[in-house]
Subunit: 421 residues, 2 copies
């Protein structure tokens, strides 16, 4: 009935998909709506920061040369000629014996070359004139934040592909990016297959289950930063399924189907790939769950046939779809961040294939631990809810014990990495 | 001019704010729009999973008793009486010598008590009748996923306050939650103060800087899961500022101002708190940056006066506002996750106050390291862009060296923890 499929290693499968990556398009969005988007260009400083020399403290601006004679017994007195707050522009140039009362963040007046904090000054009024005196010397440049001392004009600050977080947004505001050039979100189509699937509103019926994969996958698509288009669910009927998939491909950048990729009597996807003339990159991967994961390329678009099993579907998305979306969004660290950790649980069952185990990470005294998110039956959907990482357990003839070292792929980490490994 | 302020420890400041926490309201959203919301109720299993006994493989369902005589020399033959795919309901009860061809996920027919995978069966046709034969015995229950073996009806699966991630969404779909009861997002008002602030579209002017804090804070509010309302920026003028703040308080759950909380000549917030009759919880915290952070309670609403310095504002939000938002969203782990790490850089400058240093985390062989995100001048805005954590360096008379141990608060981690420490 079905040809024997030859499983290929996960790395090789990733490489085959990765060759079909494409960078996405760009668009401008208002800074108000740029959160969690990815920059489509490098951000450079449009002006020096600070744009003018400024005071880091509330105090007095003065000429350091005038403090040369000051010591604890001989205070030097200055006439206060101006009083400026942040945002005000000093109008008076300081001459010998003159000082300006100045607030944090305000621009240093011409002539002044240092700031004396309030704490070291005595101030008083005489008639309508203000004075201040000081009992110590100050150096030229002391307590002045020089123009451009934080950032010089034209300096490259943030790389293309960076996720816009609160700090990046602050920077965009600082340099007046009211419109921000970001990566356009690619559109990922989702189709669920299987006669056993009920709509979410339907009452449970004998032999049937509700369609959870499509909802899960849409959520993964959103987490990965893309948009989705859901084309509903297909019955296990070849011609209708073929037509729906062919039309859907026109409307999306990437198409994902779940289910129908095994070798069961009603698994139609292999026949559909053939009818489309799609180039099947692989249809069996040496991994659990998700060994039947299939990826095909069709007229420049990737067509993913993920397993109908929820965990296999989940893992297949994170391993094979997410990096492609990230690349499309200009993220230069498109792959999941991979770190080393110690097992916090036993995992006694050996498997010839590499396992990607639903897990979460804990920390103890600076050491990272990886914990099972649930019993790893590939059909236990509840454990996905608690997963924030995938533990990578290499295939072999032995199981794993608490304290063993393992690699972990972090699902909620924004940093990522350049390569799969 | 201003009374001396007495700094209180960070923990004490957090406690004072925490006493004013309030749980939020709830609302229903469609499952399509529930991503990244927080559950306002526990999720329990509305039916067993699986809801019926099912097959984990493609194969034949049969009665194990009928295989008793089978061995490698004496195959036992069965008449195949039905053929069912996933989602189909078996109509025939199996009697002695009968088998049902069954696909992965399909419901086990009455009478059958085990599944023989295709791989161990011989099948053939004779006339129009299908037969299969088997050369080994099977046990009762073998290869059957029993009803309720993953989840029993009524079992509590997910706690109130949990963030809806792809796995949680799959679960909601499985149990038919087409409407999901979630925490309503509280509305956080934002007002920037300071005559030095320019709008983002304005050309840079002498002595002025663009308003970046408001944009940054809005982004932090979004990251924390709340909605925002931006009331613009205020000039340093008491009566107009008072009126704006008083009116804004009517429209929001929490109000944040940035700037105006120091003791500078134009810092109006202390006077405004007094005029409102607000209860000032503290106006000085033994921390850097952000020692002037002020929090007041006014008619049951929290009113945050964060520093105008970007880093101080950022840290003040994450320490004092975010946990209150999280509690409002029913998150039972409202505080930032705090882990131990080793310093990857020197931080030689001692400070009597606790420092919250902009940083990011790296991993090496299972060990967590904390890295400086930039020079820690409190006015360097660029380093915030690279920050995914805050390093906590206790106050004291000495600096810190590479390899020293420090605590780190993770900003992008979804897990959080129940207490600040």
């Amino acid at each position: 009935m079905a040809a024997i499929r030859k499983p290929i290693p996960v790395d090789e499968a990733i490489n085959r998909v990765w060759k079909h990556r494409r960078q996405g398009e760009t668009e401008y969005v208002s800074i108000q709506n740029c959160d969690n988007r990815r920059l489509a260009e490098d951000i450079t400083a449009k002006h020096p920061v600070p744009p003018f020399p400024k005071s880091p403290y509330d105090g007095f601006a003065l000429r350091s040369a005038d403090t040369l004679e000051a010591d604890s017994n001989t205070p030097v007195t200055f006439e206060v000629v101006e009083h400026i707050g942040a945002g005000e522009v000093p109008r008076k140039r300081l001459h010998k014996g003159e000082a300006t009362r100045i607030m944090t963040g305000a621009q240093i007046p011409d002539g002044a070359d240092c700031i004396a904090m309030f704490e070291i000054c005595q101030s008083y009024e005489k008639g309508r004139q203000s004075y201040m005196s000081i009992k110590r010397t100050l150096d030229s440049g002391q307590n002045i934040i020089q123009e451009g001392s934080e950032v010089t004009e034209g300096e490259k600050l943030i790389e293309q592909g960076t996720l816009i977080n609160p700090g990046v947004k602050a920077l965009l505001a600082t340099f007046g990016y009211s419109q921000v050039k970001v990566a356009k979100r690619p559109v990922i189509g989702v189709i669920a297959t299987g006669t056993e699937l009920l709509d979410i509103d339907e009452k449970l019926q004998p032999g049937k289950i509700r369609n959870s994969n499509a909802y899960m996958m849409v959520s993964q698509i959103i987490r990965a930063g893309a948009n989705y288009k859901y084309f509903g669910k297909l019955e296990d009927e070849l011609n209708a399924s073929y037509e729906t998939i062919k039309e859907a491909l026109e409307e999306v950048d990437i198409l994902i189907t779940t289910g129908g990729v095994s070798v069961g009597d009603f698994d139609l996807m292999p026949a559909i790939y053939e009818k489309l003339g799609a180039d099947v990159l692989f249809n069996k991967v040496a991994m659990r769950p998700g060994s039947v994961t299939t990826v095909a390329a069709n007229e420049g678009k990737l067509l993913y046939g993920l397993s109908g099993n929820p965990s296999a579907c989940y893992v297949g998305f994170e391993l094979f779809v997410r990096p492609i979306i990230q690349h499309c969004l200009f993220n230069q660290n498109a792959f999941l961040r991979r770190i080393k950790a110690k097992l916090a649980d036993d995992f006694p069952k050996p498997n010839p294939f590499t396992r990607f185990v639903r897990s979460y990470v804990t920390y103890e005294n600076g050491q990272v631990y990886t914990n099972l998110a649930g019993i790893d039956k590939s059909n236990v959907v509840t454990s996905l809810a608690y997963s924030t990482s995938l533990m990578v357990l290499p295939g072999g003839t032995r199981g794993f014990k608490t304290g063993d070292e393992a690699e972990v792929l972090l699902l909620d980490d924004q940093q990522g990495q350049r390569e799969f490994k």
